[in-house]
Amino acid sequence: MIDDDETRHQIAVEVNGARHLRTVESRLLLSDFLRHDLGLTGTHVGCEHGACGACTVLLDGVPARSCLTFAVQAHGRRIGTVEGLAPARDRLHPLQQAFRAAHGLQCGYCTPGILMTMKAFLEETPAPTEEAVRHALSGNLCRCTGYQHIVDAVLAAAQSMREAKS
């Protein structure tokens, strides 16, 4: 196998506000970097080809598939994962609260990717229609819920976030 200074790279990445320095192989996916190198196993790996959305994280604030990004590309970037969503250990983010209240998850495998996608969506679209929520969810597969309770949860979260602001 080739091994030289173009196959291993030093990277500095900010994840949920904490800075991490690591040496990574070129081919290491960001999803595997988060889970295996940093131990942040909240980011789930489903299909590993961008179809399911379970591995969605925020890359400089923008939802992206961590399975379609190499860890080396995250050098100098800010990553947000589900571990950084709750404001404190004993408090949930309004989205998490709403998912719990509305039964927006069953097995929970898809949930981290959906939460990160919806976090960015609600920041841009604080008062979405149901149709807009369904469209925004189109890149995340859930095999348990039939989506109805997820949509309910996102709409409820949007409302509680609006109320918290006003």
Binding site: I2, T7, S26, R27, L29, G50, P63, R65, G139
Partner: protein
């Protein structure tokens, strides 16, 4: 489901990227948004020895006005194209079609240049470029050249780009007065590759007769396909249900869909016929209002 080892080169300038590609030629691939290349690498369908990452080349990104045209830098994210209000006015076909390209998270990363250089015949954007008569600028250490969209897409995942060339930008000529466009597709789910898609462009004269039309299709052959005869036959005609039906019947025979597990060739041709009729009528209505 993990990529094979490769050397990673972060291009610090366009010259750096071109040097690396010239040195490694077919052994190297450019990494743009990575939304098609990385899945292929995860499956080990693609095993490039070298990846040349273009993601820090801000000069390759952006929508710019040019004389009588608009230019899309190759590294412009599909999401940025989707949200560009000026582009939506100047080239509504691009805006209408790009919303069908996968999902928001994919469009956040995916780029127009990566999409076009990947040359997936099922993708929407090559068909849009054909319909609009776009041209593409290829650059290498040897210089640069412009390639017409009809010459750029040469086959399944195959373009006119040489081993040392990079797709730098695509230029869309301004739409003539009284021109309307329409993009329609049928996919099993929104964001999936379409079973069939059509891009239609119609220009009318002051009396409402068609002076020029173009039709191009995705998932209708080994590359994006234009229906040249069907479009040419519309010149001088009023586009109504009857003339649109005639063009659609011709178009469905001009394309060469391959069929797949989701749609037989006969069904794809049927979709092409229905979508062509609807797209032509809508494009003509929009031209009349333009």
């Amino acid at each position: 489901m993990k990529p094979a080892p490769f050397r990673y080169v972060l291009a610090e300038s366009l010259g750096h990227a071109l040097d690396a590609k010239a040195a490694h030629r077919d052994e190297a691939r450019f990494l743009a948004g990575g939304q098609s290349l990385v899945p292929a690498m995860n499956f080990r369908l693609a095993q490039p020895a070298v990846l040349v990452d273009l993601n820090r080349l801000d000069a390759l990104a952006g929508v710019r006005a040019a004389a009588g045209a608009v230019r899309l830098g190759a590294m412009t994210r599909n999401r940025a194209i989707e949200r560009d209000a000026a582009l939506a006015r100047a080239q509504p076909l691009v805006t209408e079609a790009i919303a069908h390209v996968a999902h928001p998270q994919i469009r956040n990363r995916g780029t127009i240049g990566g999409n076009l250089a990947h040359a997936d015949p099922a993708s929407e954007m090559p068909a849009v470029m054909l319909a609009l008569g776009a041209r593409l600028r290829a650059v290498s250490k040897r210089g640069e050249r412009w390639i017409a969209a009809r010459d750029f897409f040469q086959g399944l995942f195959t373009t006119a780009l040489a081993a040392d060339e990079l797709l730098a930008e695509v230029e869309l000529p301004a739409l003539p007065e009284r021109t309307g466009t329409c993009f329609l597709e049928v996919a099993r789910r929104h964001g999936d590759y379409p079973m069939m898609g059509v891009a239609a462009v119609v220009t009318l004269d002051a009396t409402g007769r068609c002076t020029r039309a173009s039709l191009a299709y995705c998932n209708a052959g080994d590359t994006a396909r234009a229906a040249v005869s069907a479009a040419a036959a519309l010149a001088g005609a009023r586009i109504d249900d009857a003339t649109a039906r005639g063009a659609a019947a011709t178009a469905k025979g001009e394309i060469e869909p391959r069929g797949n597990v989701h749609a037989s060739v006969a069904y794809q041709r049927h979709l092409a016929e229905v979508l062509t009729r609807r797209a032509l009528v809508t494009a003509a209505e929009r031209a009349d209002q333009a």
